[in-house]
């Protein structure tokens, strides 16, 4: 087990280096930089001042020189300064990551809370009307474009019905740490989480349903039934344990998807997290932040897949590799 994890971790290093190289080349291939078009907002700025800014942020060097500098600093844990936000990138990310993680965590929780029971029901009573209803929902959610659905949710539940706030993460008037603060934060989370979760369930439901249908005719299940194990126990002890394997395996990937999916959620619900920061930084050509963010989600992908493998090898001793 340990060797497995160590090996996976070691493979991550070249993967991340390669990723950073690609990001850097692509980022620098974007036209313009952070001071392009400064005339729009700061018509008093002089040429010397602009040059000074480019010089300080190393924007005049060729990309490989910039990459070298960046790499050297990144190894020391320094991700540079954001030009737009004028603070260290690390601090900037730290300030925003909380919201995104909160959002991702609850979305995942709600996704499983909906998907696992539905998948179980659909699998156990397959081809009944309940199953057809669930599969129908699955098709619809799979086909619905996320941003359309999220906008619709926002329109109906915030604008028309007024049940939930239209944006932000918390009402500033709430006393931090108080109960109403927690409630208000939750209220701000409901719509983004639901919009994400309701559309994310299809994979889990489908896998679970198929697996249960497959499993329930397998020999060991038949044996259990023959021993006289009650039907409920057959499902909870024998079938579920097996069928949850692929779901557990996908956990890592789900986390990865949530982090990149946060871009849409956060834009639509004006929820200030990493996704919004990412768009803002690309529009402002805030290279240091863009690079750091892509690296972060890249790392999430690599770590997520590793997590999936580890979980899988814990729940399923058959595939444990040493």
């Amino acid at each position: 087990m340990l060797t497995f994890i160590v090996r996976r971790t070691l493979i991550m290093i070249p993967q991340l280096v390669l990723l950073s190289l690609i990001i850097f080349m692509l980022a620098k291939a974007m036209p313009g930089d952070a001071v392009t078009g400064a005339a729009m907002s700061s018509p008093d700025m002089t040429e010397a001042q602009i040059e000074k800014i480019r010089e300080k942020h190393g924007l005049n060097d060729p990309w490989f020189v910039q990459y070298g500098h960046w790499m050297k600093r990144a190894l020391k844990g320094d991700l540079g300064m954001s030009y737009v936000h004028k603070q260290p990138v690390k601090k900037l990310l730290a300030g925003r990551i909380e919201n995104t993680v909160l959002l991702a965590f609850f979305t995942l929780l709600v996704t499983y809370a909906i998907a696992i029971p539905l998948g179980l029901i659909a699998g156990r009573w397959n081809d009944t009307w309940v199953d057809k209803l669930i599969v129908g929902y699955n098709y619809v959610s799979f086909a619905t474009p996320f941003f359309v659905f999220a906008l619709l949710m926002l329109f109906v539940f915030s604008f028309v019905l007024g049940w939930f706030p239209t944006g932000g993460s918390v009402d500033i008037r709430m006393e931090e740490g108080s109960w109403s603060y927690v409630v208000d934060k939750a209220k701000h989370l409901v719509l983004p989480v639901l919009s994400g979760a309701l559309l994310l369930t299809y994979g889990t439901i489908q896998y679970l349903r198929n697996d249960i249908i497959d499993t329930k005719v397998k020999d060991f299940v038949r044996t259990a039934r023959a021993k006289g194990v009650p039907e409920g126990k057959v499902y909870s002890r024998h079938i579920l344990r097996n069928s949850l394997l692929p779901i557990a395996a996908f956990l890592g990937y789900e986390i990865t998807g949530l982090i990149s999916g946060s871009i849409f959620i956060e834009m639509i619900f004006s929820y200030p997290g990493l996704g919004q920061l990412f768009i803002q930084s690309i529009n402002g050509r805030d290279f240091t932040v863009v690079t750091a963010l892509v690296m972060l989600s890249g790392t999430a992908v690599v770590v997520g897949t590793m997590l999936s493998d580890i979980i899988l090898s814990i729940v399923d001793p058959r595939i444990r590799i040493d």
Partner: protein
């Protein structure tokens, strides 16, 4: 200081604009008020919500020396001030927290801070706090955008900026409340561009000693989440990027603010009208394209004034010489002949664009000094009104005629004359506008094509315009003019932002005169700038297209709110709510 918007009574100018376009009977826009109509008494402990209309979180660099985003500036107006107030022309006055007087030779300005002006932590605002602002602006490590002409022309500033000395020779602190600043040359730009926003040295920390570095200061929580000022409200809490809670400053030097608290929060452009309608937000700007819907919202009143920014068509006439640091004309530019440029301006139907796409909230521009500068904008100058006949006549006269009968004119040598037009992809109407101008020009026989056949994203557009891409003959852009009417920064010979790269001796001369010592005499300065505006209408390095109205939606419960540069209600401390 340049962020300061100057508000003016727009109606007269609007009517003038109508008249010029040959349509005297029609008033395009309803008479916008500048102040709210509710005259009920303000609640004793009212609370108001101010909307920052943006699709991104605010950056939260809440300090005048370092900030860059407009939302940050909007937040700062509630808790921070400049020592000197400005009048409706953007010129400093003695109504602020300090008074000033100019020396005989107009080179030295002395500020005296009034009694009882204190920072939110109770410390008095000191002369050395203003000195600190200058020490930051000129600091060798400073990389913000505000080391501008008005700062760099202080005596001894360049030595300080280069790190040769740690004292700015031209700034003298006499006592805790008196400070004088001496400039190398006397120029009226001082009166509209001088920096008088102090920085609380005792609170944020000192970079001139070894206490902290510039980077540490900029990213300090004392600027970002717990800033102080001496304005009417104190910052009590900030949710970064999202909202700010402000409480009344009982010790505000002007008096006790009417409101108990103000909440400032970011609202996306898509939801701003709903937020106003539901009363979630009391005051917020309204995007022009939502004007039609905004009119139907009964809960709000719409105020409007003319904006400092304008759109223009720039003609590429040369390039930037990076060695000489100045603009150089290219005599072989396709548009080097000014008659064509004049014709192109006459061919553009800006009025229709303003009416059709912006409900009259944008209207034909006439000169390169915006009407916001009431004194300096030459209202008598009609620019070049829409007149396709005149455009054709001008082109004929210049020898550009259609010789092969394809509907497009050839150049005097008979070769095809095709112009390439760069325009930005910004907003829904960008494409329509670009196509409309191209049609306008085609109507007078000019073959104008979009660069690469499409619009360009902000950065690629400016990247190519800035670098004088030879493929571009003309481009459409827009910008704000700042608080100083001096056009040097945008149209001067050594201005890197002068994207047309136009230069002429007459232009240099007039721009110089406009900021000379003699220009302290307003009449003289007006005469110089009128002449400059005429020169620009004659030479047409750029054709201004439309001036703009900026709209503000205000809930009907708000009292004592005004955007009139003369009204005492323009100051935040007067604002209140009646229910």
């Amino acid at each position: 200081m340049m962020w300061k918007t100057i508000y003016i009574v727009g109606i007269i100018l609007l009517l003038a604009a109508c008249k010029q376009s040959g349509d005297p009977g029609e008033v395009q826009v309803a008479n916008f008020p500048l102040s709210v109509s509710n005259e009920a008494p303000a609640l004793e402990n009212g609370e108001l919500t101010y909307g920052l209309v943006a699709d991104e979180p605010f950056e939260g660099t809440l300090n005048r020396v370092f900030y860059s985003g407009q939302p940050d500036a909007e937040i700062m107006q509630f808790f921070d001030e400049s020592l000197l107030a400005t009048d409706e022309d953007g010129v400093i006055s003695n109504d602020g927290a300090a008074s000033y007087h100019l020396s005989e030779d107009n080179k030295t300005i002395t500020l005296k801070i009034k009694d009882g002006v204190t920072w939110h932590d109770g410390e008095p605002v000191k002369a050395s706090d203003l000195l600190y602002t200058y020490e930051l602006l000129g600091h060798p490590d400073y990389t913000g955008s505000r080391y501008t002409f008005v700062v760099s022309s202080i005596v001894g500033m360049s030595d300080y900026h280069e790190g040769k000395t740690d004292k700015i020779a031209g700034i003298k602190v006499f006592d805790d409340r008196t400070i004088s600043i001496t400039f190398e040359q006397a120029t009226p730009s001082i009166l509209s561009g001088i920096w008088t926003a102090p920085t609380p040295r005792h609170y944020v920390g000192d970079v001139t000693t070894d206490e902290m570095t510039m980077d540490e200061l900029v990213s300090s929580e004392k600027i970002r989440t717990a800033p102080i000022g001496f304005g009417p409200f104190k910052v009590s809490k900030i949710v970064p990027g999202e909202s700010v809670l402000l409480e009344r400053n009982e010790h505000y030097w002007r008096g006790r603010p009417a409101l108990q608290r103000i909440v400032v929060k970011v609202v996306s452009t898509a939801s701003i009208l709903k937020a106003l309608e539901k009363g979630e937000v009391d005051i917020a700007s309204i995007p022009v394209d939502q004007y039609d819907n905004a009119r139907k919202v009964d809960e709000i009143e719409i105020l409007a004034d003319i904006d400092t920014s304008y759109s223009y068509i720039g003609f590429k006439l040369g390039k930037w010489d990076a060695k000489k640091k100045e603009n150089v004309l290219n005599p072989n530019a396709l548009l080097a002949n000014k008659t064509i440029r004049q014709a192109m301006w006459h061919a553009m139907d800006n009025e229709s664009i303003g009416k059709m796409l912006y409900k009259g909230l944008r209207f034909p521009a006439t000169t390169l000094i915006v009407p916001v500068f009431k004194t300096y904008h030459d209202a008598g100058n009609e620019g070049r009104p829409y007149d396709p006949e005149k455009a054709r006549a001008l082109l004929d006269r210049a020898g550009y005629t259609d010789r092969d009968g394809d509907g497009f004119r050839e150049d005097p040598e008979g070769k095809p004359f095709v112009l390439t037009f760069a325009s930005m992809a910004s907003g829904e109407s960008a494409d329509l506008i670009a196509q409309y101008y191209i049609q306008n020009w085609a109507d007078v026989g000019l073959n104008v094509q979009l660069l690469d056949g499409r619009l360009h994203e902000f950065h690629s557009f400016y990247e190519r315009v800035q670098k004088d891409d030879p493929a571009i003959d003309l481009f459409q852009a827009a910008w704000g003019t700042g608080s100083d009417p001096d056009p040097e920064g945008l149209w001067g010979r050594s201005a890197v932002f002068n994207y047309t790269r136009y230069t002429s001796d007459k232009n240099d001369e007039l721009l110089k005169k406009g900021t000379s010592e003699k220009a302290f005499d307003t009449d003289y300065r007006v005469a110089v700038y009128n002449e400059w505006q005429r020169l620009m209408v004659d030479e047409v390095p750029a054709a201004p297209t439309v001036y703009r109205y900026a709209l503000i939606g205000v809930n009907r419960r708000v009292v004592n709110y005004s955007i009139d540069g003369n009204s005492p209600n323009r100051y935040v401390w007067r604002w209140g709510v009646s229910q």
